[in-house]
């Protein structure tokens, strides 16, 4: 009977392993991308012979970031799409990504181990009807949002959980220095009150719903809303439109799946970009073009190289302002 006990437990445990290992030839894709981007990538892969050969696991940016830094090469994933600065920091710490073996055709120069899938820009978004109704001026800069007239009328994101917030903080730190930024951010948070959102699309949702008049969010979403005829408009802040890119990278592993993962990465870039551009209209590769509306008025780049360390610094700055 002891034997039977032992055997049974042994068998069940190996049973579990077998079940997990049976699917082991699938490529595991970890991503922090939004729904639309995940759909676009899936479509590209499915339409080019990879259907059933991969599984997708989505995460919030901070969760996936944490996993990358914590687990390094031990990570379950074979293929990752993630905010580029996180990939860079993880690479620096763990040397965990393989150099891409295909020609990307990107317009700009990127490190050898990743290539971007999307770029997202920040902008001020407002509800035209709400502004009229409450007799509020259209803000021209992020600094304007600190004005007490906008009390309880604005929504921003929290840099602790959303990288969209970083686009705002980069802009004000870049323009006014850290001390100047602190003062502005404190007043912005006071104005936002309960409308400090965790997700990057939180503010635009509140602006659409009319819960607030103004939000800071992703520019392309506002462009799309405006084109759809919603009472939404956007302003490129005088501090600048800052950009974050998300990229695809292949994890360096001994397993035979590296080559397959590499093929999938190539497929995503080659065939996925077309659909990705519909939602994220900023051109990244040769031959891509943006329409005028999606050409931001004031593109800028942060003076310091983006990294997790810098993010941490700005997170601390933001916490002080709450």
């Amino acid at each position: 009977m002891v034997l039977a006990l032992g055997l049974l437990s042994g068998m069940t445990l190996t049973g579990c392993k077998n079940k997990a290992e049976a699917a082991d030839n699938e490529v595991v894709l970890y991503t922090n991308a939004d729904d639309e981007a995940v759909e676009a990538m899936k479509n590209a892969l499915d339409n080019h012979g990879f259907e059933g050969k991969y599984i997708v696991q989505t995460f919030g940016t901070s969760e996936l970031g944490g996993k990358l830094l914590a687990e390094g090469n031990d990570i379950e994933a074979d293929l990752i799409t993630m905010s580029s600065f996180y990939l860079e920091s993880a690479q620096k710490e763990h040397e965990m990504f393989a150099d891409l073996t295909f020609e990307t055709g990107a317009m700009e120069e990127y490190p050898a181990y990743y290539t971007p899938i999307t770029a997202q820009e920040g902008a001020i978004i407002y509800n035209t009807e709400m502004l009229k109704e409450n007799d509020l001026p259209v803000p021209g800069s992020i600094k304007d949002l600190a004005d007490p007239v906008y009390k309880d009328m604005i929504s921003v994101t929290d840099i602790q959980s959303s990288s969209t917030a970083w686009l705002l903080i980069q802009a004000i730190v870049n323009e006014y220095g850290e001390d100047g930024a602190k003062g502005i951010l404190t007043d912005i948070y006071a104005n936002a009150g309960a409308h400090i959102e965790d997700s990057g699309s939180g503010p635009i949702k509140k602006v659409r719903a009319g819960e607030v008049a103004i939000g800071f969010g992703l520019r392309h979403q506002a462009v799309a809303d405006k084109e759809e005829g919603l009472p939404i408009d956007y302003a490129d802040p005088s501090e600048g439109n800052f950009t974050l890119t998300e990229s695809v990278a292949v994890v360096e592993k001994d397993s035979g799946k590296k080559d397959l993962s590499m093929e999938m990465a190539e497929c995503i870039i080659k065939y996925g970009r077309e659909e990705l551009l519909e939602t994220y209209p900023i051109p990244l590769y040769d031959g891509e073009k943006a329409d005028d509306a999606n050409q931001s008025g004031n593109p800028k780049v942060f003076s310091e190289k983006l990294s997790v360390d810098l993010l941490e610094k700005h997170q601390a700055l933001s916490e002080e302002c709450k």
């Binding site: 002891v2 049973g15 729904d35």
Partner: protein, 573 residues
Amino acid sequence: MVRKKNTEARIIWLLVCIMFAAFLAYPAILLLVESFRGESGFSFQNYAEVFGTKGFARALRNSFAISAGGSVITTCLAFVLAYTVNYTNVSRTFKKGVRTLAVLPMLLPTITYGFAIIYSFGKQGLFTKLLGRQLFDIYGIAGLLIGYVIYTLPVAFMLIHNTMGYIDRKFMVVSRVMGDDALSSFLGTVARPLVGTLAVSFIQCFFLCFTDFGIPASVGGRFEVVAVVLYKEMLGSVPNFQNGAVVAMVMLLPSVVSIWIIHYLERYNIRYSKLSEIEIKKNKVRDTACAAVTSAVLLFVAAVFAVIFIVPFVKGWPYDMSFTLDNVRNVFADSALTAVYGNSLYVAAATAVLGTLLAYGAAVVTARSTISSRFKGVIEGIASVTNTLPGMVLGIAFMLAFTGSSLQSTFAILILCNLIHFFATPYMMMKNSLAKMNLSWEKTAKLMGDSWLKTLARIVTPNALSTLVEVFGYYFINAMVTVSAVIFLAGARTMVITTKIKELQHFAKFNEIFVLSLLILFTNLAAKLIIRLLAGQKWKERRRVEHEENKKNINCGAGSGAFIRHDAHRVQK
């Protein structure tokens, strides 16, 4: 001579110990070491760092305050519920309804409660719409309190209800005859004997609130609690394992203390020499008041859960309320989601099978073998330790111990974690049941020429069947609803429903969340039903016998204590 015959028991003992050494002691020690690991060896630096941050001190205060608040409310409400069932003349059907409804929340994961609260009292919530305005801000204190109360109500109710069942009602008659007024009669004959249990209920609820992750994950808002800090340290944007380990140790401390106090309080339970049924005094006012409060509480709970049944079946909450099955169909059409359901079933079933074996093995050694009490003490110790270990702490310890090993992201690690996490209660259930059986069976069987194992197989096991089934059910249901430990361990291929819900939360896909929650609920209801049927007649019979025996036990003064403990264990997540 007895010693010689103990080989089998010793082997089982050894297997159980190896299991816990590898999957409890090793990860826990690793966690402890990690919390003290500084840049140059052993140091208190991490502790200083964690306690030095403003946010952590605040979160710790928040956790203590809100857990205490929630526990007080729950205990009071549960008392009214139990009082209504035990001391009023409301109809039997009503009482039965209370008993059933009060424990229903146990069948759902806590993370679901949070979302149900959002859809009930949030800006677009059902009741906000019905009343025309939002009653209160749900993110933060109010949401957490509601969630905690719903979560812990079953525990508190079961504890108090159980003790009330073992209070001798004759004292009420005596009190009345002595001329006490209603209040002092109530205080003397109902409240006073319950003091111990009420304290246990408070502490038990406190422990559950303090260590729960699902509720703050959904409605915590900006009100940070320790569980959220812990999650962020381990899986946040900039993880810090050392600091996470420190937070885990900090979370462990109140848990250990609370379980220890419960242990201590048990001695103070008043024991009656016998139980007597008496007619409950007629009192329309009391009955109506109790029934009203009880109905209000249960209606509130039911109302919060109602949205789970409504939201997935309407087209576009809250604007387009026409009925649709599309959401349900979509979930079942999404192979990723059905696979997750399959995973959950698999993990729960495997946990239940292996867990039952483990609990049975351990309990057989302590209750039916003659190995030395020191050996038995080890197993008792293991049970106490698993009882004090919050799921999150165990999950993190597993993560530290097995990342990079071949166990990472497998079903095996989830199952092993569940086995350890929920061990205490099934073990107690099993042990209590085995200990009640006639101890001379083994001797008689030996005289007849059967070995110990043969006796186990032929006599003890068949007699323990209904408890085995209950233990199976306990493991199964808990494995279905748990999120705190597995959130750190599930991989892309081994996602279970609860971890998937956390993922869906990020994209605010509430239809899917509620459909998956309903799947858990129906699965658990089905499991309960099957277990009832399987345990069936035997179960009823045993209950009757148990009841008689308890009466006898009370005579020897050993009844209620074990029962309170038993049930306190039973409900731990």
